[in-house]
Symmetry: D2
Subunit: 147 residues, 4 copies
């Protein structure tokens, strides 16, 4: 029971860490909404500043939304993980409302782990699919300032 | 009922088409085992000819196993789809026994569709994750020779 | 001579279009510095707002820098091209100073074209490599407002 | 002069190692033709066994051709490098004659290195672009059996 509490608390602190310290995401209004074992979710309300020349959400904003979910999921195990490779496929434009991303771990072995991130619009349609690979270090993440 | 029969029959014919006409997969002992709506599975029994210099399955054999599942899933809707972009992340080596791949569609809109393929070893561990994007033409696939 | 002038002028207008209308890039201080035949360059001066929790440039900012170079190169031929798939590998952190990206076309045939983008730090070291695929429509880009 | 000889000899041994021990490549008729510092080239004469259901070269054969060039380039520094992530974009079909792939290193820092591979047909047209990331171990490659 205590162990479970500790883990829930750890996920909360990690969320606070990302939402306070990732300045690119703060600048773009992207936040982590949930972290679990090898999973994480993020959200972004589409604003004028996210648009490209064609008046739809710029691919870089969708990538960053997915990348934050990937980063939070990859770091959910308590040790430091660095993103080394990502790929993203876009199938629909993001136009208005809220975009969400959900990352889940497909594999973790040795120094590497892999995640698939599903990015959806407000209607629940997938607009992009992201795959990321992380390199896992042995260093613990210090979350003491975020308690 | 008839429509359902027809579809099941269409999936069977598509499977026969791939298993007969994809000569690379025949050469490598890779076969389609199942096709559904936007999904497909493939399998390969590891043999000497699949190995690389480190005596584990060469990445190209794992890619081809995943690519066949992707291709079968992308063509499951009855119109021609061409693979245009793929990415693959390897996390564990393939050593012996049977490898399987399962593709599912994450998005399909306009001329593009996207698939994630999970590649597993005999113990059920994911050894690689593949993502593929297909370009969908309007041409029907002629499966009449495979009835 | 006139044709050459026209083309130079077209590249200038396209640059103005991206630098005025891509609001994500304006927000992040990313700009197109040069466009040629199937090539483009971009730059970004690293600021506090680009950093992640580890105090290095967030991957999303590097991706957006590369993506803008890719987008400008893909649209350099005068007809509309949409980015459909990208992958990026990070090898060094971006810490301070100016980052630049240079995109060049590796292939263009039928509806698809492919670009490789090299992202470098101020010391000239490659910090990331990006690959993008574009889907080319037949629509002309209207650059008349940017003359 | 001696040092240069030694390196040339090392590249020759590495080439022999790949061409003898990579059994997938032997099965598919793919061979390393050249290895340098962070570079390598491969070739494959298109045969019936490489074709897919549409009678063009199956994507898996093109991937394997590129992957061997990537693997040889990544291992050219004398220490073991493992491929962890690859992406490939196809723009033209491979139909007949000889296909070649050329890999060059775009970045190498710490445990990671990145390569871009250009795959061309006999007419010199790029048919696919491949990007690969390798994880570099400290282990030396034992090439003594290949002298």
């Amino acid at each position: 029971m205590t162990a479970h509490m500790t883990e829930t608390e750890r996920f909360e602190r990690l969320k606070r860490f990302f939402n306070n310290r990732d300045r690119l995401c703060r600048c773009l209004g992207i936040e982590v909404t949930d972290i679990g074992h090898g999973t994480a979710s993020t959200r972004m309300v589409i604003e004028e500043k996210h648009l490209n020349g064609a008046d739809v959400v710029q691919g870089g904003a969708i990538f960053t939304l997915a990348d934050l979910a990937f980063g939070a999921a990859a770091n959910s195990h308590g040790t430091l993980a660095l993103g080394i490779n990502m790929s993203i496929s876009y199938t629909r434009p993001g136009i208005s409302g809220v975009l969400t991303a959900h990352a889940h771990e497909t594999s973790a072995a040795g120094p590497l782990s892999t995640y698939v991130v599903d990015i959806r619009d407000e209607a629940g349609e997938t607009i992009a699919t992201f795959q990321g690979t992380a390199y896992r270090k042995r260093d613990k993440i210090d979350l003491s300032p975020w308690g």
